[in-house]
């Protein structure tokens, strides 16, 4: 934990701009520029404060773009195929979303579409919008702050990886009933989840905000 020191005495408080408060527990730390690859943690609650990584912005943009393409593939290719009683039942991601569309469960259709497709896509698009200009070294796009705030707020609600585990459970449940085969969209979706996890690991919220602030034309 180099370069970050906790502040214990109120008298010698430096300029607020040189301090960082732990977002989780509010403990004050001196905010120095971290070397690439190091991680600073809160002295009290050990939450990661900052972890700048080599080329992180470029990588996040690339991974978000890859995720977008994979999502398109995942939507349009067949997801799972069921062979039973001489019939083949194909279902795509859209069919899964539409599964609740009849009867009393109709409101869930919207929620499913949001959790699996719409919110993840919104996150990818807004991350590209915010970070691509940063990666090229340009000034931030208009409303970049708002877009990044939205992307961060949506993070817990984009449930692609939860959905994949759900698919695995469903496969086992059906396996006894019929023969199942996995379509290309399934693999696209698995790749999408891996890419998303990689991307979120590279991303350090505080570093992104600082970069946005530095590049902002004043």
């Amino acid at each position: 934990m180099p370069n970050v020191t906790d502040v214990t005495v109120a008298d010698d408080l430096p300029d607020p701009a040189k301090l960082i408060a732990c977002p989780q527990c509010d403990a004050l730390h001196l905010d120095a520029d971290l070397p690439i690859g190091s991680t600073s943690r809160c002295v009290r609650c050990h939450t990661v404060l900052e972890s700048p990584r080599q080329l992180a912005l470029t990588r996040i943009v690339m991974l978000a773009a890859a995720a977008l393409i994979l999502m398109i593939a995942a939507i349009f290719f067949p997801f799972l195929e069921l062979h039973a009683a001489g019939r083949i039942q194909r279902s795509s991601l859209l069919d899964t979303v539409m599964a609740f569309s009849t009867g009393m469960t109709a409101p869930l259709t919207l929620a499913m579409a949001a959790l699996i497709v719409i919110l993840p896509v919104t996150r990818f698009v807004s991350l590209i919008y915010v970070l691509a200009p940063m990666a090229f070294g340009w000034t931030p796009a208009r409303h970049a702050s708002r877009a990044f705030r939205i992307a961060e707020a949506l993070r817990p609600w984009a449930m692609a990886e939860v959905f994949i585990v759900g698919v695995a459970v469903a496969l086992v449940k059906v396996a006894g009933l019929a023969h199942l085969s996995i379509g290309p969209a399934f693999w696209a979706f698995v790749a999408l989840v891996i890419v998303t996890v990689l991307k979120d690991n590279f991303m350090c919220r505080v570093t992104v905000w600082k970069t946005l602030e530095q590049r902002r034309p004043s």
Binding site: P23, C25, L80, L108, W157, V165, A170
Partner: protein, 211 residues
Amino acid sequence: MENTRTAPPVLTARAAGLIGCTQCGRVQTPGEARCIRCGSVLQSRDEASLQKVWAWFFAGLVVYVPANIYPMLRTSSLGKTTDSTILGGVIDLIHHGSVGIALIVFFASIVIPVGKFIAIAYLALSIRHRVKLSDHRRHVLYEVVEFVGRWSMIDVFVVAILAALVQLDFAASINPGIAAVSFALSVAFTMMSAQSFDPRLIWDANKGNPA
């Protein structure tokens, strides 16, 4: 200066008369309504945090009841229709011999939701009352609750996939039951409850100046 020492008097932004942004960590003088770095709404402490936590908590609890009573899955096979609840689905899986998957579903749809209700209530109560767990333990508990909440959605997704896949008319078809809606709502409400919790309150509480 190294910060390996664990001297308790850590100065918080609030104690220093400043406000820390929960989004980007920027410290600023009071008077700003929004963070000058990221534009998030600034609050030294979320005064209404506990109220929101309890409101979402009880909303989640109320819809969790029908989620367990009503059928989650409606399976019709050769003209015979069977309903299965969440717990019934787990028991079915064990009968099929897939104990591992049964465990995943059991954890995701029973242990995690119930554990989350208990953990959120405990955290919220611990702000006003003395409890045994140390600040640090409670902070870890909070992080676990935040992280784990969304995984409860597994069962709703399973129902959706099964219903989309198994539509073989007379031979077999699976349709979602009404419990899927209330379960999904319960998960969403408890996620909102956990998100409304201001973890800074955990660390304030032992100093005798809550909220």
